[in-house]
């Protein structure tokens, strides 16, 4: 009762959680209210949504270098996504994940990850194996 997606080897620990999916892009500085733990940029497709404890699934990373510190800062206050999955990460988010030890993977072999995973899916992300398992589907 599950399907497993293959991706590039990632960063961080194996985690399990509920997916929050958008084909929009991601920047911790531009898009988030990090105190409230929500997407705050009005033009973002997830505007108003809480990312706390979610497995975020997005297209790519955009914008500035600040996100590299911010993932660690978000984690230190315990308001952070459990993992972020991208079609293509950029360098900054990967670096931020390495500092924060936040789980991150990208480059999925089966296509567009924002289509493969749906909001509400329960997923296990194993960055060292390079796999993402969707538990509620077959």
């Amino acid at each position: 009762m599950s399907i497993t997606l293959k991706c590039h080897k990632g960063i961080g620990d194996k985690v399990q959680g509920i997916a929050l999916v958008s084909d929009d892009n991601f920047s911790a500085r531009y898009d988030l209210d990090r105190i409230k733990g929500i997407f705050s940029r009005p033009a973002h497709k997830l505007h108003g949504e809480s990312y706390e404890k979610k497995i975020l699934v997005m297209n790519t990373a955009k914008g500035g270098v600040a996100s590299a510190w911010m993932l660690n800062e978000m984690k230190s206050r315990d308001i952070y996504p459990q993992a972020i999955l991208f079609n293509a990460a950029n360098t900054i988010l990967a670096q931020g994940a390495a500092l924060a030890n936040l789980t991150m993977c990208d480059r999925f072999e089966d296509g567009d990850v924002t289509q493969l995973i749906k909001t509400g899916d329960e997923v296990i992300v194993d960055p060292q194996a390079g796999t993402v398992t969707i538990l509620n589907r077959k």
């Binding site: 531009y30 973002h44 914008g63 270098v65 996100s67 510190w69 660690n72 800062e73 670096q95």
Partner: protein, 408 residues
């Protein structure tokens, strides 16, 4: 990843905890991007404002400093979040200032030069053609790659610090020739004139490219841009598209001809007046009361400072005007009487900060600023997420709006 004996010793902790952390971080990042090895870099540049680093980030820096960490190459810093000579009037707190003071202390003890600038290519030491560097600040990276032909990825604060400590960075992305070839070919028909036009052009191309791994080549520019024009073009492109490198055919050093970067094999995409107008139209607000006018992102060069000062002469502002520049330019501008011209009109020049990196949300709330006007296409892109309604206008119209108290 292939490591040298020295690098293996770093990883084993034989050269101290700071270098051990640094190279461990670099191996993690390098493996994600399939780096074969590490490449020596000549300089590092770290973005570390206290808003983004937070208590956790500052404590992390202090930990490395206390462990005896010391940089092994020239390492400089991006703008600060607090101008320690002017923060209470902006509504910044003592807590914010203290985080900043702790950042200074930790960085200085590691041998980091607190240049506090995002225009180091105009004011500190521009990189050479082919120079491998580890720069933070997307505007610095895109300018250095594109205008100078240097080689840098976007290095976030932690990675820039790691590079400063080890003197190396993982060899992936833009350190490799294959990622520097053009992947998108844009033809422009409208020639940009004022700085805002260059920013809007960069924003449109960034948005159309839309990924770190796309490299635009631009055709159709009839003039060689000035350094300030390249700065606005690149900063906006990087902000809207996460773009780290672009070429301008016949102008930038890696693209003397279109075919140098493989552009001749790519389909032509036109950037039309409609595309540029569509981007501008999202930042309207004519006739509305303006709460604050900001010149920043990137920090102003001495030339831009002079241009702003000339426009300020004889005026009295109804709206606050903030001008952000580097410490180096600030002292030159003070000596030249430029700061006095701006401040006599009611503006304020901030030293070594950049508005969006200085607790923009908190200072907006403290001062009741919502409608923000700027000539920077980059800053109006960023500040929507910080509770502002940003508007975009030329430098001249920004100053005229500050005088009128409403967007002209």
């Amino acid at each position: 990843m292939r490591l040298t004996d020295e690098e293996k010793a770093m990883l084993a902790g034989e050269m101290g905890e700071a270098k051990r952390w640094a190279i461990d971080h670099q191996v993690k990042v390098g493996e994600m991007f399939d780096a074969a090895d590490l490449v020596p870099v000549s300089q590092s540049h770290m973005m570390v404002d206290p808003e983004s680093a937070g208590e956790a980030g500052v404590a992390f820096l202090e930990g490395l400093a206390e462990s005896g960490g010391r940089v092994s190459i020239p390492m400089i810093t991006d703008p600060r979040g607090v101008d320690l000579n002017h923060y209470s009037p902006l509504g910044q707190t003592e807590e914010m200032a203290n985080l900043e003071r702790r950042t200074y202390a930790a960085c200085e003890s590691m041998g980091i030069l607190m240049t506090n600038t995002c225009i180091n290519y105009q004011t500190v030491m521009p990189p050479m053609f082919g120079d491998h560097v580890a720069y933070g600040d997307t505007g610095v990276v895109i300018y250095s790659n594109s205008a100078c032909g240097a080689r840098s990825n976007f290095e976030g604060g932690p990675s820039a610090l790691a590079a400063g400590l080890t003197g190396r960075t993982p060899r992936y992305g833009l350190h490799l020739d294959k990622h520097r070839q053009a992947t998108r070919r844009f033809k422009i028909n409208e020639q940009p004139s004022e700085l805002t036009d260059w920013g809007v052009l960069g924003a449109v191309i960034g948005k159309m490219s839309g990924s770190y791994w796309e490299v635009p080549v631009i055709e159709g520019l009839e003039v060689v841009p000035t350094s300030d024009q390249m700065k606005h073009l690149g900063a906006a492109m990087a902000s809207y598209g996460s773009t780290p490198l672009f070429h301008i055919s016949g102008i930038t050093p890696e693209s003397r001809t279109l075919s140098d970067v493989g552009g001749d094999k790519l389909p032509v995409e036109e950037v039309t007046k409609a595309d540029l107008d569509a981007l501008r139209s999202t930042f309207g607000g004519k006739g509305e009361k303006v709460d604050v006018v900001v010149f920043a992102a990137p920090q102003l060069s001495i030339v831009e400072m002079q241009q702003v000062a000339e426009l300020c002469k004889g005026k009295t502002f109804k709206a606050p005007v903030l001008v952000c520049t580097s410490a180096q330019v600030y002292s030159d501008a003070t000596r030249a009487g430029i700061v006095a011209h701006i401040e006599d009109a009611g503006g304020k020049v901030l030293e070594g900060t950049c508005f969006y990196q200085q607790y923009a949300r908190e200072i907006g709330e403290a001062n009741g600023w919502v409608r923000l006007l700027s000539n920077s296409a980059k800053i109006v892109n960023i500040l929507g997420g910080y509770g502002y309604q940003p508007a975009l206008a030329s430098m001249e119209d920004c100053i005229a709006s500050a005088e009128a108290g409403e967007i002209v």
